[in-house]
Amino acid sequence: MTRKTIRYTEKVKHVIQYFGLLTVLLVVWQVLSMLGFIQPIIMPPPTQVAVVFWELLKSGVMIRHIGISVLRVLEGFGIAVILGLLLGMAIGLSKTLARMTDLIIQVIKPIPPIAWIPLAILWFGIGEQSKVFIIFLGAFFPVIVNTIDGIRQTDQKLVEVARMLEVSRSRFIFQVVIPGAFPAIMTGLRVGLMVAWMCVVAAELIAASSGVGYLIMDARQLSQSDVVLVGMITIGIIGKLMDSLIYRIEKRAIKWKTAFTGV
C-alpha cells in the first residue's frame, strides 16, 4: 500500500470510530421500535423523529425557536462573560477582595439556576429579563471561578522575571498574568456557554411562548413525544456546535501551547 492509501484508510477508520456507536444505537432503537418492543407514545422511532424534525425545519418553526433561544443565551452569556471576567480578574489580583467574596461565591455557586426562577419572576417579571437572568446565573460561576483560578496559577518563575525587569504593573497584568490565565479562562467560557445553553430550557419554563425550551414544554402538554425528542436533540446539536466553535477559537488563540490529545 502506498502512504496515501494508508492515510486514507486511517481516516476512514477514524470516521467509523467517531460515528459508529451512535449509528448502532440508532439502528437498535429503530429495530426495537419496529418489532414493537418500544411503544411509539413513550419513545417514537428515529425515523418518526426525523420526519417531525424535517417538517418543523421546513415550516420555519424550528428556526424561529432556535433563533430566540440562541439570542437569549447570547444575552445571558454575554453579561456573564463581561461581569465574570472583570470580577474574576479583580478578585484574582486582590487578596483582600478574594477574602471578602470567597464565602458568598462558595455559597451561591451550588444553588441551581432553576431554584432562582421564583425570585427571578418577582424581580424581573415574566418577560425576557427573567429568562436572561436565569441563563446569566448559569454561565456566571464557571466564568468567574475559572478566571480566578487561572490568575492564581500565574507561574511564580515568570513573576520573578518580571520583578527582575521592573516591569510595570499594567504590563505585568496584561503580558504575564492574563496570558497565563488564558487557557483557564477559555475553559471557563466553554463551560459557561455550555451551562448557559443547558439553562435555556429552565429559563423558558417561565411563561415563554417561543424558544426550544418552550417547544419541549408545549409538546409535553400535548403528549407529542416526537416533538419533545426533536427539541432535545436540537439542544444537543447546537450545544455541540457552540462548544466546537469556542474550542476552535481557543486553539487558534493559544497556538503557543501544545496540548495533550490522548493516546
Binding site: 518563575k157 520573578e160 525587569l165 521592573e166 516591569v167 504590563r171 504575564v176
Partner: protein, 262 residues
Amino acid sequence: MKNDKPRETKLLIENLSKSYLVQSEEVRALQAINLSIADGEFVAIVGSSGCGKSTLLKIIAGLENGYTGTLLLGKERIAGPGLDRGMVFQEHRLLPWLTVENNISFGLKDRHSKASAKTVSEHLDLVGLSGFAQAYPYQLSGGMAQRVSIARALVNQPQLLLLDEPFGSLDALTKIQMQQEVLRIQEVEKTTMILVTHDIDEAIFLGDRVVVMSSRPGTIRKIIPVELARPRDRSSYEFAQIRRAVYQEFFVEAENPFAYQI
C-alpha cells in the same frame, strides 16, 4: 588576565547569612559569606546541589529578603530587584505567548520606540539569533531559548549579570558552544558576571576566579584564581592543574584521583 590597573569593586558582600524556616525548623542556607567582585570580572561559583548557590544569586538579584549582612552594588545597598542587575535562570523562563523579539523587549521601558527596536535587533545579533525575531519559544531549541534569555537579561545594560546554572540542562556540545558565546558577549559588553554552576570545567573555562562553596551551611570554602589567557584550552596542563586544585576542595579525603600519580 589584564590586571595592570586596579579595578573598582562592583559588588561587595559582607558577612551574609540566610536561613529558611522548613517545618518550623531553621535551615541555614548561607553562612558568613564574604566576597568582593571587581568591575568587569567574571566570577564562577561551584558547589554541589543544595549548597546555597541559587539562594546567593537570588539575594544579589534582590529577589530574597530576610537575610543578615550587607550587599553593596557600587556604592548602593541592594534592597530589591533593579535594572542594574540582569538574571539568567536555569530554565529559560521566556514568556511562551510572546515572540522572541517581544520577549527581549519585555524588559524595556519604552517598547515601541525606534531606539527599542534597534536595541532589540542589536541584542538578537549579539546572541546570534537575528533570523528568529518572530519565532515563538516553543519553536526554539534549548540552547536557542537560553540565548534569548541572555539577550533579555542584557537589554537594559545591567552592570551585573547573574547566571544561575544557565547551561545545566543543555547537551555537552551545545553547552561548550554557549560557554564560548558567553565569553564573547562579555568581551563585547564588558559586563561583570557571576556564574553559578556545578560543572568544574565550566567554572575554570569561564571564571577569572573560581569560588568553591561547601554545603550545610553554605559557606565559601576557597577562592581559586584562574590566571590563564583566554581562550582557554581545556586539555592544557595548566588547566588540569587548576582542575585538580578544585577537585581537591570537594574530595579531600574520600577519594583523591590524583594522590598516587607521582
